[in-house]
Symmetry: C2
Subunit: 377 residues, 2 copies
């Protein structure tokens, strides 16, 4: 291997990836979130997934796309997002056809989003296998990740509904957990139960138990399997999106989808299907994953100074540690005597809060909207 | 009294004050400070004394002037400040003649400042009595204050050097103390000793002792008495300013003062005279005084919400108490989980620090100046 040139090495890697990845694999990236917990960094007109939060020069959405771009052709990569982000999407992912950008007129959580993608993809390829992912997670070991996805893909048939479970390394209270039956021979483990985000004591028990993994919100299934599951468990949604057969890929798709969403209930794929269905399996993975679900999570993965501070901007600190100070306003910031705080300084808004308190962001955003209207949101 | 109209009452009060106040009384207001401990509110180009810190529509300097304006004629009110504040002074105190605004070319602490005033006033009125005051204190009970000043004035002769001592109500560690011999019959109490700012334990002992008062930095003496004291204890300063006899009140005064300050040592009146001299007395007072020496002091006197926060600006708070949040930038501020902090939000600078830590401001200002130059200072 050492005698190969670098470009040949990259070329070989790309071929390997392309060979590994099933040619029926379609990647669906869910990019409709509002990123409330990253306010005021994340705003309604440019939420979290569209932001270069890691300072890599690529937004979280672009990084999610990049993860598959070498191994999955562009016509098999799909984005589902809100129609208000039409321009941002074209701007950030110019490689994709308009047809591959599915625009939702309303927020209806993940089940309708996935139904829309499934029925449309089926039109293009009835034998498609779908990998469904959030657009705003971070994954550090991308090759390991692709291997795990591939394992799941290889396990797909007409029935299996697979979710990816992250091997936990701490009693995290910010994720839901999946309990599984440890069938040692098979990488697809039958799921026993899905749990809500646990309190700390329960999270510790989950860890001790040894058969619990974090729910990463990543799914893999054949189009056939997911559509069967919709037909069985969400017949109204199935019927609604089945009716788009003649409209998908035509100029009538948008108007059809407008009506479809108007009558669709807002429900998560977890509640609508995964917690009800048979043939639900988990494939375990350990690939340096974070859902970046809070400023605290972002703090954890970023480079810190000797006092554990993440400092982004023109900042002087005194007796301060373990803080995240981000300034986008070009002001000079002087901070003294702070431990464990977030200071997010923007031209129009300044937020100072305890870095751990991610649950309260919904309240911030709601109160600000109520008291000040939409301009800060 | 109740049958008098309000305007007659005010008129009568003014007459009373004018009758109370000795017609030889000259008020000298020291307005040269840089207000470092109120950075970034206080800046070099507009320090603390020129700011409407209390939201009354008048700056601290103007409020100091106002305190005497009804009872002391304008030609007997003098300001000593730095020449860089020439325009601010004219703007804020248009009632005063140029002659009454003494401009220092250099910072030399309070002894040269007072010497300049004393020698110039002597020129106008050899029998003058001087009340020397800082420009940035706050006094809530102004009538009581004037009575105390009057008591001191009435006690002046050719030798007495009088300072005003505030009856302490807590073991304050931010003020120097004065120990006195409690001569019950005489409002002028001989001073036994001046102390530095004490640690808490010592401050408590001072309080228990019952013969200690806070040093307010307010002085009353006849021009004759202070000049005798300079001649005895600071002969170089005495000689320097005596030499201005022909220059005071002429167009040559500024150039004389430039030379005078170049050769004057920088020393406080306390160290130069008060701690050395004979005939040093204290008159006790209790008139709602604060030196406003820190943001914490400002927080104490301002109106607070039910959580003990002073909020000045567009601010939402969550689980936050006992904070001082001041926004001059028009930003929306959201603060959560903070207790006892100062947030001072300006267009160019944001400062967040523990409200109590006033000692560190010197370091802030010095570091910012060193690292960023003068633009934030």
């Amino acid at each position: 291997m050492k005698s190969l040139s670098l470009s040949k090495l990259i070329h070989n890697t790309e071929i390997s990836l392309r060979n590994i990845m099933n040619k029926n694999l379609h990647v669906v990236i869910m990019a409709g979130g509002t990123g409330t917990r990253f306010w005021p960094y994340s705003r309604n007109d440019k939420p979290k997934q569209f932001i270069d939060a890691l300072g890599t020069g690529r937004s979280l959405l672009q990084m999610t796309y990049d993860r598959f771009a070498a191994s999955v052709p562009n016509e098999n990569i799909w984005i589902v997002s809100n129609e208000i982000y039409r321009d941002l999407l074209s701007e950030q992912l110019p490689e994709l056809r308009q047809d591959n950008i599915l625009l939702e007129p309303l927020k209806r959580n993940t089940a309708p989003c996935i139904a829309y993608a499934a029925y449309k993809i089926k039109q293009q390829d009835p034998n498609a296998i779908m990998a469904v992912l959030p657009s705003d997670h971070v994954i550090f070991k991308e090759e390991k990740f692709l291997e795990v996805i591939n394992t799941a893909v290889e396990g797909c048939d007409d029935q299996a509904l697979i979710t990816i479970g992250i091997e936990p390394n701490r009693p995290e209270t910010g994720y839901g957990y999946i309990q599984y039956l440890d069938d040692v021979d098979n990488p697809l483990k039958p799921v026993k139960t899905f749990t809500e985000k646990p309190e700390l004591d329960l999270a510790k028990k989950f860890l001790e138990s040894g058969d619990f993994v974090w729910n990463a919100g990543i799914f893999v299934w054949s189009v056939k399997a997911i559509i069967s599951a919709f037909e069985k468990h969400q017949p109204e949604l199935a019927e609604t999106f089945e009716e788009g057969k003649e409209q998908y890929f035509t100029e009538n798709e948008a108007s059809f989808i407008k009506d479809a969403y108007a009558v669709s209930k807002s429900v998560s794929i977890d509640y609508a299907i995964m917690e009800k269905a048979d043939h639900v399996n988990v494939v375990l993975g350990d690939f340096g994953w974070s859902d970046l679900g809070s400023w605290n999570a972002l703090h954890e993965i970023k480079e810190k100074d000797k006092d554990g501070n993440v400092l982004e901007g023109d900042i002087l600190t005194y007796q301060s540690k373990d803080n995240y100070i981000l300034s986008k306003s070009k002001r000079l910031i002087v901070a003294e005597g702070l431990e464990g705080y977030l200071i997010a300084d923007f031209n129009d808004v300044l937020l100072i809060c305890r870095k751990e308190d991610s649950g309260i962001f919904r309240e911030f955003v709601s109160d600000v909207k109520e008291q000040k209207g939409d301009k800060f949101i």
